[in-house]
Symmetry: D2
Subunit: 361 residues, 4 copies
Amino acid sequence: MSGNTFGTLYCVTSFGESHGPAYGGVVDGCPPGLALCAADLQRELDRRKPGSSRHVTQRRESDAVEILSGVYEGKTTGTAIGFLIRNEDARAKDYAAIAAKFRPGHADYTYWQKYGVRDARGGGRASARETVVRVAAGAIAKKWLAARYGVSVQGYLAQLGPRRIEFRSWQDVAGNAFFAPDAAVVPALEKFMHELRASGDSCGARVNVVAQKVPVGWGEPVYGRLDADIAGAMMSINAVKGVEIGAGFAAIEQKGSEHGDEMTPQGFLSNHNGGVLGGISTGQDITVSLALKPTSSIRLPRRTIDTRGAATTIETGGRHDPCVGIRATPIAEAMLACVLMDHALRHRAQCGDVTPPTRIG
Amino acid sequence: MSGNTFGTLYCVTSFGESHGPAYGGVVDGCPPGLALCAADLQRELDRRKPGSSRHVTQRRESDAVEILSGVYEGKTTGTAIGFLIRNEDARAKDYAAIAAKFRPGHADYTYWQKYGVRDARGGGRASARETVVRVAAGAIAKKWLAARYGVSVQGYLAQLGPRRIEFRSWQDVAGNAFFAPDAAVVPALEKFMHELRASGDSCGARVNVVAQKVPVGWGEPVYGRLDADIAGAMMSINAVKGVEIGAGFAAIEQKGSEHGDEMTPQGFLSNHNGGVLGGISTGQDITVSLALKPTSSIRLPRRTIDTRGAATTIETGGRHDPCVGIRATPIAEAMLACVLMDHALRHRAQCGDVTPPTRIG
Amino acid sequence: MSGNTFGTLYCVTSFGESHGPAYGGVVDGCPPGLALCAADLQRELDRRKPGSSRHVTQRRESDAVEILSGVYEGKTTGTAIGFLIRNEDARAKDYAAIAAKFRPGHADYTYWQKYGVRDARGGGRASARETVVRVAAGAIAKKWLAARYGVSVQGYLAQLGPRRIEFRSWQDVAGNAFFAPDAAVVPALEKFMHELRASGDSCGARVNVVAQKVPVGWGEPVYGRLDADIAGAMMSINAVKGVEIGAGFAAIEQKGSEHGDEMTPQGFLSNHNGGVLGGISTGQDITVSLALKPTSSIRLPRRTIDTRGAATTIETGGRHDPCVGIRATPIAEAMLACVLMDHALRHRAQCGDVTPPTRIG
Amino acid sequence: MSGNTFGTLYCVTSFGESHGPAYGGVVDGCPPGLALCAADLQRELDRRKPGSSRHVTQRRESDAVEILSGVYEGKTTGTAIGFLIRNEDARAKDYAAIAAKFRPGHADYTYWQKYGVRDARGGGRASARETVVRVAAGAIAKKWLAARYGVSVQGYLAQLGPRRIEFRSWQDVAGNAFFAPDAAVVPALEKFMHELRASGDSCGARVNVVAQKVPVGWGEPVYGRLDADIAGAMMSINAVKGVEIGAGFAAIEQKGSEHGDEMTPQGFLSNHNGGVLGGISTGQDITVSLALKPTSSIRLPRRTIDTRGAATTIETGGRHDPCVGIRATPIAEAMLACVLMDHALRHRAQCGDVTPPTRIG
């Protein structure tokens, strides 16, 4: 396959371009009997929707999702779940001027070289708008994981450009358009974004995602490790340049006596490993951290070449998030939920007859 | 599959346990006509071999590899390449004492809970000795990539615990057992390791890997991106806790005007993206950085539980690397080579008729 | 995955139910640059359309297909091609009476037992109407195979119940709604069908499919053989109970001196192998023959049980083909085309550098 | 992958050539805790072993299998099971004379054209000796299916050239080297084979395979149907040219009133569908029938070409079965067992929480 499907048993297939008629997806492998309706998907889609605050792209999309199959009388049937999200606010004229140039930091040049043809309108297939499909598929995974295992998957903005944000509460996260985990910093973030937008520039971000109550035992060593699949899924999100599990890069400077999480009959005493050992979940929180690069579309002039190879400059107008990381939180949650659901199914396929011998915590 | 195969077209399947009779692998999908012999694999295996210096495990293994199929009269035939590496120095008695306890930071507990049974000898399947299979498979990929496209894949130790090592030259890397890119720091590294071993503790490391001369166009958006597959492959290596492509986590604090690599007819002016845009190679160097956690097996006493769930303590004797990251360099190179070869094949499957329209650099 | 995707590099993912809002599919892996529009798919869809003659179901569907992605300015872009076919004539009331009973020969009972829930309207996911997705995907494959390699894929009705039909010409096939290869027998077929429908019963059929000008070398031994993938694809079509390649079951009674196709510098002297040796195409015609069972929905009373397990009888009204095999020809062509395209891509991935050394014929 | 792996969750990867050092395989996905030792595999391997009677190739191979991983203290651990079978009686000189010619009916020409290189010794990778890997993998599947679900998988020779053999008992099958289900016909079969060998020619065969006590519900519509996967697996066996499920090609001439299996509270009244409806097992016996072509290696002179494309003739000496179908029975059983085990795991992954609502029989 050419990369538009992911997952082994919980499979998500995606199609759609930024300025085509629609995005859509097919979720295959969902167990039957799960209560599901379009509103379940819509709730998550609304969290990542453009135009939800002044700080994200002002493109106006209702992102209304239609479920086309796989659900009957309010329950999943076990057959493929097809869904569709029509594009509405696709102003192709915004992009006509730049179709002949390659925007720095974008996939314009690489698509052009790979395929010999490209849909330049809004980035075409490379647009981050494709993440609607991930979010919809993740909404189904989240619902099943919660219903079947009590698993929750939640994320937050841990850093906006140079500003680190300490975690205070999930309530704080839910209360602001930044997904910031500390309501007190929101005014400062707004000021920062205002100045950033005024400068014509953009910034990066760090997003943290946590899965709670994941049972011990999910993950397929040695190449299909839970953390390996998480890393691959996260790095597949537009603009992600780094992924950490648990202590991540801080582990380099840790001693073994510090990093290795001790165990007692009451549970682990720390979680430097981020809930995964040997590629298998430990029963602790799974903690993931992502680095998102700054938005590539900026209003400042930049050197580039045109499609004939000649030197030129480009400034990107249009309606762009000055920090794509702000809307990445629900997307990262969705990817983690999809990977976890895939591994939940894979685990019970092979080990469905195993009674775990020793529980701690 | 249960995780012992990776790759879409260049597929590697692995088997073996630390103290079983042998490790082995099957490489499927290698093009026919590549000159190949056991010595090609052996050269790379010798680079990661235990006992190669005082600073790595003193387990004595010749790691002699036997090719069992897929090569005829010195050339690959296009059929599956099976190979075998017998275990020789498998002192199971070293492990008898700890079979009833779970070592902190190891996969002992998670395998036990997942499978209800485990081969405790030397970590069984979770042993980092499994990486012999990766290195052998990577040796084939390296050879083909070099022969067919002139691609090179090289890595080095960028940080040992708290000590960062600047890159000086690939000659320096080849000249010391640390894979350190600056020969001048080797005495200090030796002193550091000596003190670390004496303390009974361990440390983490950072390994950087670079692929040069990768053609533009490899990678399958949107889920099978080149960087996504690299991240998954790297995170599947034992002890890896973080992966960066290009600027990685530094991208968080970069401005868009700094991060987005400008282009001229002579080529890109920087490489913050690490050679991948939109999941597709740009033709620049592909740069990857890994965080490896400190070795979990240390001689210091640690709290844990036994297989009945009771509290106990454990000290790990045996023959362990105080820094597993030291030997990770050839493993990381191997994984990057396998992913690149897989994508080289995938790319020419779909886009074999495309003439890339514009070249720079 | 749960079975709604097939293919390794040319991947088809399908969703939809007989009486849901729509069927749709995603074709992933199509090379860029192929001229393509909805009419290319529509032409093939119209060949299998219900209501196209008196002898097939009178359900009225326009089967109008909409391409949603992957095509830009009349050419494929190399990204996923999503398409949609809305259901129009979905009279769920036809099925209300039988929702509580299991129709003999149908998948009612097995879906019910597997999933614990089923969409009983028109067979739900088990309806042969799903084959619209196959035909649309096959239309793309046919177009690419013809454009790139000059390959044609054509089928015909070789037997209708007890009546065998000799092959006369492809022109004859195109000229009648039975896909019968001999125009002279059409009146007799019409009479046979008329009497069959009057009797309330149904009959089986044999469909033959032939691919011409397939290059030598496609197919991946040993499990991914071209003939193995063809057999799997054909048996996945609703109602198919048998598949033959080349001589098929007649090979049982052949001698080796008869079956083994001799070669001369001018080519093979016969084609008992059906164009595949060792799982790899020979360059001859690929010949496939299918057995389709009689339509399970008949007006005669049959013994069955209801969903509570009690004995009952059932007669199936509704609008059913008395011989589902009649419309199977374009479906079988589509499946063969998809498998061939998949193997064309797989072959050039691995063997793209091979210059075939000896040509015959 | 290039075709040397099959299965989605119960995955078999194979390597080896007829005259290379060894064949081997990797079984991935076997549940942990299954009692398993080399003797379990050896028992099945001995059933297909060459030299087991006068009527099969006299090549002398002990086919002694060594398990290299995945089993600890007599039980599977859930990790990959690697196994090895060394070649012993590899007389390459037998083949030297024919390396420059293409044997009719063999894969010589197609491998040569596909790969541009071939191991001509004994057919290389195309040799039916590869089926040792299938039989070993099938032995594990058979054992698990029997232990976990009480499923049995058995086959027999239903036709030898023109001689049809009626089924009398499984005891009869076990009592003769033909796997003939009627002991009374064995003398006639021996006489037939004697005359066939004397004539220098070969014949085809039909093998039937039956799986009993398969639970209702296994199979993944719509492309991953149980019968589709069975057909693909069977057609991947060397020399197979046709596959039937249930009534097979006889369904063409059946009426719907005859073919559609009626149900009562006591069970189905017939089994024309062969235990599969809509791609899902019904709980009835799964019945499969295969056509095997006559051995291509015969002593009679045949027209062919040499590797330079010139006309020549060939007679194949060496040690060949005059009817390869005789030894196909354990191979066909193995393939069916592998497919069933794969679907057992896939089914419980997705539908592990379903309580089948209505049982019959």
